[in-house]
């Protein structure tokens, strides 16, 4: 097993952990989205590492990364759409104040 792969995987794990921490601990919608981006970034690192060190001959591995970049873009678009709508309606995007979905 290559050290390079391990390094990349640890980087991915660290980014994932930081992302989870951010997504859970932030009160602001935009900051939460940043956390989610970091989580996705962690996944991306792992995918590239797997492609490079395990199956460099299969381009589908790279394709997966493209899909994740797309997912990130979608997440941004929808997240900001919601954020703008909420900001217009309530004047803030603090998620502590957003409990309309309470059961």
């Amino acid at each position: 097993m290559g050290i390079e792969l391990l390094l990349a995987l640890i980087t991915g794990a660290a980014l994932f952990g930081v992302g989870i921490y951010g997504a859970l601990s932030q009160t602001n919608l935009v900051m939460i989205m940043m956390g989610v981006e970091l989580i996705l970034a962690g996944a991306m690192v792992n995918l590239v590492a797997f492609w490079r060190f395990l199956h460099p001959d299969i381009p589908a591995g790279q394709m997966f990364v493209l899909i994740i970049i797309t997912v990130m873009a979608i997440e941004m678009a929808v997240g900001f759409g919601v954020a703008i709508a909420r900001f217009r309606a309530k004047g803030s995007v603090e998620m502590e104040e957003a409990a309309e979905l309470k059961g």
Partner: protein, 174 residues
């Protein structure tokens, strides 16, 4: 220690460091730009892993995305100088534990799993780009096109959600 290993480690460290900075700084713009540099470092890491197209793409996409994130931060947080100290976190302990646990778990899997031998031969960058293109418009076309349609839908939906409702009177009013 090969150059590749050094660069992977270096950029990985940079990415993680900037990632941590995202949640450690009080300035909104700094936090967004830290995320940007974290993603850029990732792009550099991809480059050092010989995934040239992905690296360049990552560097390009994320710069735009995170800059946009920065302006939204400023718009929504109204943080004038950027250096006002206010706490915007909650359930810190839980988050910290969750983050740590997931990190430790993932590292454990990475360390203890049997990944098999690492491949050493990689197609050169031009060949990779060609392969990727053929993959996208060949075998994975359906997936790729679905992603395209999805992002178009998301664009339209986001615009529809965010757009200000314009009534006929104030359409001509101003």
């Amino acid at each position: 220690m090969s150059a590749q290993m050094f660069f992977i480690g270096f950029f990985g460290l940079a990415a993680v460091w900037f990632g941590i900075v995202v949640f450690r700084t009080f300035s909104m713009v700094r936090s967004a730009l830290a995320l940007l540099f974290s993603q850029t470092a990732l792009g550099a890491m991809f480059l050092s892993m010989q995934a040239e197209f992905l690296g360049v793409l990552q560097i390009m996409m994320m710069a735009t995305e995170m800059s946009i994130m920065a302006i939204f931060m400023v718009m929504f947080m109204m943080d004038p100088g950027g250096l006002g100290e206010m706490d915007m976190t909650h359930q810190k302990r839980l988050s910290l534990i969750a983050g740590l646990v997931s990190f430790v778990g993932a590292v454990a899997v990475a360390v203890f799993a049997d990944w098999g031998p690492a491949a050493s031969v990689v197609p050169d960058a031009a060949q990779q780009t060609v392969d990727l293109g053929l993959e996208l418009l060949g075998r994975s076309m359906l997936i790729f096109e679905t992603a395209g349609i999805t992002i178009l839908t998301a664009m339209i939906a986001a615009t529809a959600v965010a757009i200000q409702s314009v009534t006929r009177s104030n359409e001509h009013g101003h």
